[in-house]
């Protein structure tokens, strides 16, 4: 279950706004986190709290293939992203990095900045605790929840491979 304050962004939030290329000479998550969403909202890294939720419009994460974008969001402590729609490469990268994302146009439209939001990855239920409204996104399937729990695709594969080889012993 994810719970946090909503930070609202517009349509076509691109990877240059999520993590500007001037910081890409590093791939250290903590370093990237310091500049998360900086060109969309310069004070975002300073003002956000651990667990907070990003609300995006359509085509969230468009632009570059840089995994630094979901890495920066995750390392900053954002618990999940809800958007009207996601750009293709970002969608794939987010799950591969272990960042939960939810596609839900109604929630993306109606949730207001500062609302307290609770999201269940098991059911896809999005609750706005501030105004009492509820929305439904696709639940995240079990394998993907395990992948997120493991911390991303490679860690998931490594854990799975280890478990398999131990069983074979």
């Amino acid at each position: 279950m994810f719970r946090g304050k909503a930070w609202k962004f517009g349509n076509d939030i691109n990877t240059d706004e999520i993590i500007p290329a001037r910081y890409l000479n590093s791939s250290d998550p903590d370093e990237l986190a310091k500049h998360c969403m900086e060109d969309a909202a310069p004070d975002f890294p300073a003002k956000m709290s651990k667990g907070d939720i990003i609300i995006g419009g359509k085509n969230f994460g468009c632009g570059s293939s840089r995994e630094h974008a979901p890495i920066a969001i995750k390392a900053a402590g954002i618990s999940c992203v809800i958007a009207h729609s996601f750009a293709r490469i970002f969608f794939r990268n987010a799950f591969n990095m272990g960042l939960p994302i939810f596609c839900c146009p109604e929630a993306a439209r109606n949730i207001k900045e500062g609302d307290e939001i609770q999201v269940s990855p098991e059911t896809g239920l999005i609750e706005n605790l501030t105004d009492g409204k509820e929305y439904r996104a696709q639940p995240i399937p079990e394998f993907m929840r395990n992948l997120i729990k493991a911390g991303g695709l490679m860690k998931y594969v490594a854990a799975y491979t280890k478990e398999k080889s131990e069983k074979e012993k």
Binding site: D12, L24, N25, S26, C62, R92, N93
Partner: protein
Amino acid sequence: MLELWGLIMGMTISEKILAAHSGRDRVCPGELVIANVDVALGNDITAPIAIREFEQTGVKNVFDRDKIVLVPDHFTPNKDIASAEQCKILRDFAKKYGITHYFEIGEVGIEHVLLPEQGIVLPGEIIIGADSHTCTYGALGAFSTGVGSTDLAAAMIGGKAWFRVPESIKFIYTGKLKKWVSGKDLILYTIGKIGVDGALYKSMEFTGPALKYVDMAGRFSMANMAIEAGAKNGIFIPDGITEEYVSVRAKKRYTFYDSDSDASYSDVIKINTDIIDLQVACPNLPENTKPVGELKDVELDQVVIGSCTNGRIEDLRVAAGIMKGQKVAKYLRCIIIPGSQKVYLNALDEGLIEVFIKAGAVVSAPTCGPCLGGHMGILASGEKALATTNRNFIGRMGHPKSKVYLSGPAVAAASAVKGKIISPEEILK
């Protein structure tokens, strides 16, 4: 059953390539397939993450040292210590595993100019690259798409990647091209029409009789910007123009695929090229396109001619043709970036470099550099640039309060001379 009823549909070129690489007779949009990749590409921004993930798995070797391509092109020649460290990760990895296609400074070019030029990517292949503009190679009739570093790491280990077979949108270009109009103008016009998510998750298939007037350089520009409409890939049906380009470069066999006449498309969009003027995309999205004539008095601080979109010899010829005997406007910085060493050398042989230098432009070594606000031409607050690059997002070329306009090389060269955005007709009349 469908076969028995004669209802089976044909396949698009993208579906055929995906089927051929996943050991299938046919694939349908929406299906997930695991496919063999012919080339897996990474650069100095994305490969370090992939290499770190590769090393953490403890595997002993790469799947095929000839099929992994490492191109340190973004922040090279190394712009600072951190970038030097990133490039060192690529170099050390290339040495350790004997990677055939690693390009050191002196031979490196902008990846999407370099790979086709070297015959490393070919028609009918599947190419994945940890760079969103990997879709460029679709110009050759290949299925080529950008992925993240993790997908690259997995491909470096196993030589495979999973794909959701995309729906295709067929674009049919008919008509002739107006003077100066290039592939860049066609794609900017197209993105202006469908929007930056107009082809989200889909394949953009570029077809139609007008494309016989678009050379390979123009086709690379078009496929390159498919991602700017949200597409998974952009693809051309290979023809005589493709064959002429590829036959002299290929060192291995390649296959031309064509879409069946009864292939299914999620949309068919007809575009009359007779009405397309020179295009400019205004800040801050590539979809904000206008004919150049509608832009009045946009004064410029910088012009960049280069990038994976427009850094080829054909682009430099157009720019030099306009700048010959002219001077870059006072207080404007004009930066010319040949896309590869070969492009640079050709430009030198043809006297283009001399034209640029005499006009007061600066010529850089091949690099992505300013396109993504890396180095070699960063903008200050409030400054405006016109670039032949592919993105004009907020802060793309420097300060978040700077602005980037996009165009083809003809408008860029003319605008560098005039100091504001202008059509080449205005300075050549």
